[in-house]
């Protein structure tokens, strides 16, 4: 049945490079999640509390991010912006694209989180003399984060998986690096099999780290 000869040695020889690329994957995913969390929080607040152009802006962002393919969004930041003379590096394209996407999804998670915190909490905080900023940052948002912690973890996993699109725009994170080696050695199956295992490990590490962090953060 197998008249195919598996050659694992070239893959193993370049394993350090692949692991290095795996770290790039983690870096891109984490950075775009950080940006996505900040932007997503702003978008959620804009969508809930604003009217007029600002609300319209937030809604458009959120709906575009959620209703078009991530690859389309990357093409937009690549070809699309390129057409009007803004040429981003592959690293910037993937970072902008992923942040745009994560912000849209996270904004909806945050909106659900805000709705889950009773508004009497805000009232109680204001009654103690806290101003709106203090009441939000000290009382409401910490509780929102607890509600959205699990969805944020899921989004982080998605960010890791989505970053593999770097391969299609010439960015050498884990997938791009794999493709580079695979096309040089023609051991496509072997390379991609090892990379699949690496992704699996990265995802498990992310989930385990999230669980550990949750144990430290949420003692109530």
């Amino acid at each position: 049945m197998f008249d195919y000869n598996f050659h694992w040695r070239p893959v193993l020889k370049t394993l350090p490079d692949l692991i290095q690329a795996g770290l790039t994957t983690l870096e891109v995913a984490s950075l775009s999640m950080l940006i996505g969390i900040v932007l997503g929080l702003c978008l959620a607040l804009m969508r809930m509390n604003m009217t007029g152009p600002l609300k319209w802006f937030a809604v458009s962002w959120i709906e575009l991010a959620r209703n078009t393919p991530a690859l389309f969004q990357l093409f937009f930041f690549g070809f699309g912006l390129g057409a009007i003379g803004i040429n981003l590096t592959p690293y910037t394209i993937i970072l902008t694209g992923l942040s745009f996407n994560c912000a849209g999804y996270l904004a909806e998670n945050f909106r659900g989180g805000f709705q889950a915190v009773p508004d009497t909490q805000l009232k109680a905080a204001r009654c103690l003399g806290m101003n709106a900023w203090q009441a939000y940052t000290r009382i409401v948002i910490p509780q929102v984060f607890r509600v959205v912690y699990h969805p944020i973890t899921n989004q982080m996993v998605w960010a890791v998986l989505m970053s593999s699109l770097g391969m299609l725009i010439g960015f050498r994170e884990l997938s791009g690096e794999t493709q580079f080696f695979a096309s040089r050695t023609f051991r496509i199956f072997e390379y991609f099999a090892v990379t699949a295992v690496l992704y699996y490990i990265i995802v498990k590490i992310v989930l385990a780290a999230s669980r550990l962090l949750a144990m430290r953060l949420f003692r109530y």
């Binding site: 389309f72 998986l161 699996y200």
Partner: protein
């Protein structure tokens, strides 16, 4: 002269036709994979619920792999693996196989959640009315659990529809690949991306709105 100019640079009616055809291909591969994947996934979900520990050690980890490895890696891996075991799958067939399994993996956890959302007391009630196990499953669990997880299932469907863009990596010319081809030829990325984006958006947005309305109606 005029004609050849427009053939090489301008965006013409022919190209719109080309995009339309590609959009149909996107629809076709999505509908096919989602239909089979949903049936398969529901079956897996039932196994996960009923089989308890047997399923936990067999299909659960396999499904987990499909959720923890980027779709694009799965596609390349399978496309290059099939010939090794003597299967000659074209890009379309490979795409359908992987998208189906990917859908099944996502639907399995949704389906399991659906079964577990039906209160045991309700199932005891239907069994005590003399319904058989299968009657209970089809007449009680399916409508009630199905309603509970319908929005989550729609989320999976829209996700797979958007992710089907990745089959382009195997050379299958669906909508996004077609756009890329046209962009290279016509050098009009903004127009073409706008058309492609509008197609995805027009498909995804109304469905997600509907699912959201549905969810609100039933959560009351």
């Amino acid at each position: 002269m005029q004609e050849s100019m427009s053939f090489f640079t301008g965006f013409g009616l022919n190209d719109l036709w080309f995009l339309g055809e590609a959009a149909l291909k996107t629809l076709w591969i999505s509908v096919l994979s989602i239909s089979i994947g949903t049936l398969l996934g529901t079956f897996f979900g039932w196994l996960l619920h009923e089989g308890k520990w047997v399923a936990t050690f067999t299909i659960a980890p396999i499904l987990d792999v499909f959720r923890s490895v980027p779709l694009i890696i799965q596609l390349v891996l399978f496309y290059n693996f099939a010939p090794i075991i003597g299967l000659n799958f074209d890009p379309f067939a490979s795409g359908v196989v992987i998208l189906t399994l990917y859908t099944a993996a996502l639907v399995a956890s949704v389906a399991r959640g659906g079964i577990e959302s039906v209160p045991p007391s309700m199932r005891r009630a239907s069994r005590s009315l003399g319904m058989s196990y299968w009657q209970d499953l089809f007449h009680v669990v399916l409508p009630i659990g199905g309603r509970a997880v319908f929005p989550a299932w729609v989320g999976v469907v829209l996700g797979v529809m958007k992710d089907s863009a990745l089959v382009s990596v195997l050379g299958y010319v669906e909508l996004l690949k077609a756009s890329q081809v046209l962009i290279t030829r016509t050098q009009e990325p903004l127009l073409i991306l706008a058309i492609a984006g509008a197609f995805y958006f027009a498909l995804s947005y109304p469905i997600s709105r509907y699912a959201h309305k549905f969810e609100q109606r039933w959560s009351k």
